[in-house]
């Protein structure tokens, strides 16, 4: 009955390798996100997909490529891993049809995170 799930939970790899993180949500939400949380716990959005379409693409190296096969899944592939990529990566989802008088709002629900360590 997990709402937003990610695999793997931990990922330890060598510099230069390519790795993927998978995310799935069973909430029926339209929009999914990838966030990076650094060692100081600062949380920053990387990408957002709405119904399989890329909407937000922040200043992220081209080595990071998201893919959304359907609106319930958003995967993150990272090429040529670098030491600075070590972080916790969170997937999230939201239902953007939630509407208040001031417009759409965006309560996001987060997955458990993937701790990536690049050696």
């Amino acid at each position: 009955d997990t709402a937003v799930s990610q695999t793997p939970k931990y990922l330890v790899t060598q510099m230069g390798n390519d790795k993927s993180i998978k995310c799935e949500q069973n909430l029926g939400h339209d929009t999914m996100y990838w966030y990076k949380q650094d060692s100081k716990k600062f949380l920053k959005i990387m990408f957002s997909y709405n119904n399989k379409e890329l909407i937000i693409n922040e200043t992220v190296p081209n080595r990071f490529s998201p893919k959304s096969p359907d609106k319930a899944h958003l995967n993150l592939h990272i090429n040529s891993l670098e030491l600075g990529d070590s972080a916790v990566y969170f997937c999230a989802s939201s239902q953007n049809r939630d509407y208040h008088q001031s417009g759409y709002y965006n309560e996001q629900f987060f997955g458990p995170g993937t701790r990536l360590t690049v050696l």
């Binding site: 716990k41 600062f42 920053k44 959005i45 937000i56 008088q101 001031s102 417009g103 759409y104 709002y105």
Partner: protein
């Protein structure tokens, strides 16, 4: 660019005491969210504040939003150890259409001592 600042960054408080965490942001928004993160865990949604003057309460936590001052507060009443966690505010920055973007604050690490 929207900046979101929280203070304090670290708060050590005794059980039974009251305290307030502040979240200031730099540009107009009337949607703000509070999240809780336990060590090594995910982010849990606590409050959704959607208009000026909005106030939400859950147990010992109460959140409010003043959009004119660009300020949200998270007030802790009679703290208990179980409230120890990192608390984040996040400001909703519309991105056009039905898409929104959250800008997170720096986080406040709360440690409640017995």
């Amino acid at each position: 660019e929207l900046k979101v600042e929280q203070n304090p960054l670290f708060l050590s408080m005794q059980e039974g005491k009251n305290y307030t965490i502040y979240c200031n942001y730099s540009t107009t928004s009337d949607r703000l969210y509070w999240y809780r993160q336990d060590p090594g865990k995910s982010l849990e949604s606590l409050f959704v504040l959607l208009s000026n003057g909005a106030v939400k309460q859950e147990g010992r936590l109460m959140a409010s939003l003043d959009t004119k001052a660009r300020l949200s507060t998270l007030h802790i009443t009679a703290a208990v150890h179980d409230l120890s966690a990192t608390y984040f505010c996040a400001v909703d920055r519309g991105y056009g259409g039905a898409t929104n973007k959250l800008i997170f604050g720096t986080g406040t690490l709360l440690a409640v001592q017995p």
